[in-house]
Amino acid sequence: MEDATVVESAGSPACGDMIKLYLKVGEGDVIEKATFESYGCAANIATASILTEMVKGKSLREAWQVSWKQLSDELGGLPPIKYHCSILAVGALKRAIRAYYSAKSERPEWLPEALTLEEKQVMEEEEMMERYYKALGSAGSASKAGETGERE
């Protein structure tokens, strides 16, 4: 999206799933447009796609209320092994909402300071890979490896 107000991602190539969320936020903090990019399995792509459908036209406050369980239900119920896809998508959304207000140096009273379940889970997943690669002693972190771009 060219005119996105906020862009946030969750996950990493090393985890095997990564969602990048683009939101265009307009008058009254309402989401006018929502698009995604996804690197991940079919469930990852599907959850990201459904999430953008779900939040379009919602205010950020309403969008904040979307839970991973709601998102999973919307897809007809993900199997337990794919719950993390839904958690990742909601994690990216929550990060985007926080980033929007932090850029405006605002914090509405409904926005909690403490991280939500989804945000914590996403961080854990990302950090687990960081630790893995540190333990291996390989140069650079997992997420950096993903960002280096050009490869053979």
């Binding site: 991602s9 990493s12 190539p13 090393a14 985890c15 095997g16 799933d17 990564m18 969602i19 990048k20 995604f36 990019e37 996804s38 690197y39 991940g40 399995c41 079919a42 469930a43 990852n44 792509i45 007809g76 092994i81 993390h84 890979m129 893995y132 690669y133 390989s138 997992a142 490896a145 993903g146 771009g149 050009e150 490869r151 053979e152």
Partner: protein, 408 residues
């Protein structure tokens, strides 16, 4: 909605692709009609009896069981058909070899050496025996193409080594191990150590002779040679004592209880007969198709890594490629919609959310393993199957890369 109803829905949505090519011969495969035909009489016309009971349908069953043993023994250069045991899968054959030998030698302690790229039906029984029976399991690392270096193996074997298991050909990346050299290293360090090799992916692709190689146990699997699944075989050298980890009524097989799968064994026998017909010509034919597929993809699709060796040390039927910036399971789904059936070593494909241990062992990063796709070819593939794959794969990869958040 019940699970089966969901699957019906999924298949309805998927629809029938205009053309289909199945490359997932690693995980299972179709059984060609000439092999099914050889099985059919044994379901209800002859040999449907229990092979160790004294009546005509039983003797007919025993007859085909022994024909199959004779054939397998001959193709492996085994001294006696008594050295061949049929199991109900390759996994069972590996379990019988590893657990069976360690059970027979329990209480003495000692070391078990397996390569880091073995099939999980070797690694898990070895770890199970470590926990249960007190053996110490050592995993030998491999190089970036999956080879076990005989010089490295020397550091892992000594007088305490009880059992060594290194596969003949890797099931995911096609690495052809220097088996003879590895066996020689083990026997020189400790003549009493027993050497097992999982040859499920080698049978019919490279020369296997248990006498020349000096291996003590060797695993085969039915569905890896276009036979039916549900049948495997283990060669056990005369004098090597096993104690079966499976208990029950023994039948014709003395190491594996339960009623032998006679119709499937008849199918396995037919599959082996066909495998060794025009063997050399078929190997060259498949290698030609594989080379065309692999080089065709590398020409058409950027950012692709080859997993495993590139030269003659790669099994002729194997192609394993990592498509960077896309996730493998998503690619298997995208390709399925186009009628191309493959598997991936990605974490999402594994059901335990861990990428392939083989790809990690050769030093692939997680994100490289996640984009891996395994193709296995056979003499039943046609050149235009490969042409079709080469048309569709670049489109599928490109579609997923367009939406990928892992940007180049």
């Amino acid at each position: 909605m019940s699970v089966s109803a969901k699957l019906r829905e999924l298949l309805r949505e998927h629809g029938q692709p205009p053309r289909e090519v199945y490359f997932d011969l690693e995980n299972s495969g179709w059984v060609p009609p000439e092999i099914v035909e050889a099985m059919l009489p044994y379901f209800n016309m002859r040999g449907f009896g229990h092979p160790s009971i004294t009546h005509k349908p039983g003797w007919e069953a025993l007859e085909v069981l022994y024909e199959a043993k004779e054939l397998v023994a001959r193709t492996l250069g085994a001294g006696s058909l008594e050295e061949i045991t049929f199991t109900h899968s390759g996994t069972e054959a590996n379990n019988l070899a590893i657990l069976g030998y360690l059970l027979a030698n329990r209480g003495k302690g000692g070391k078990v050496v397996v390569s880091a790229v073995e099939h999980l039906s070797v690694i898990f029984p070895a770890e199970f025996a470590e926990k249960l029976l007190g053996f110490k399991v050592l995993r030998i690392p491999v190089d970036s193409e999956g080879f076990v270096d005989p010089e490295v193996l020397k550091n892992y074997v000594d007088r305490e080594t009880v059992l060594v298991s290194v596969q003949a050909v890797n099931h995911e990346i096609g690495t052809v191990q220097p088996l003879k050299e590895l066996v020689d290293v083990v026997k020189a360090a400790n003549p009493d150590a027993v050497f097992h090799t999982d040859a499920a992916d080698a049978y019919g692709w490279i020369d296997i002779d248990v006498e020349k190689l000096g291996v003590d146990m060797l695993t085969l699997s039915g569905h890896k040679v276009h036979g039916p699944r549900g049948v495997g075989a283990l060669y056990v050298r005369e004098g090597v004592k096993l104690e079966s980890p499976l208990r029950g009524q023994l039948s014709a097989e003395k190491l594996w209880p339960g009623v032998e799968n006679v119709p499937l064994i008849a199918g396995f026998k037919r599959a082996v007969e066909l495998l060794f017909e025009n063997l050399e010509r078929n190997i060259l034919y498949v290698k030609g198709l594989r080379d065309k597929l692999m080089s065709g993809i590398l020409e058409r699709v950027p950012h692709v890594l080859v997993n495993g060796p590139l030269d003659e040390k790669r099994a002729p039927n194997n192609a394993n490629l990592s498509f960077l910036y896309v996730e493998g399971e998503a690619l298997t789904v995208e390709l399925s919609m186009r009628g191309i059936y493959v598997s991936s070593g990605s974490a999402c494909s594994s059901r335990i959310l861990e990428p392939s241990h083989v790809l990690l062992a050769i030093g692939r990063k997680h994100e490289e393993a996640h984009g891996s796709i395994l193709f296995k070819l056979s003499r039943y593939h046609r050149p235009d199957d490969v042409d079709y794959a080469l048309e569709e794969i670049p489109k599928a990869v490109s579609r997923l890369r367009t939406i990928s958040s892992w940007v180049s």
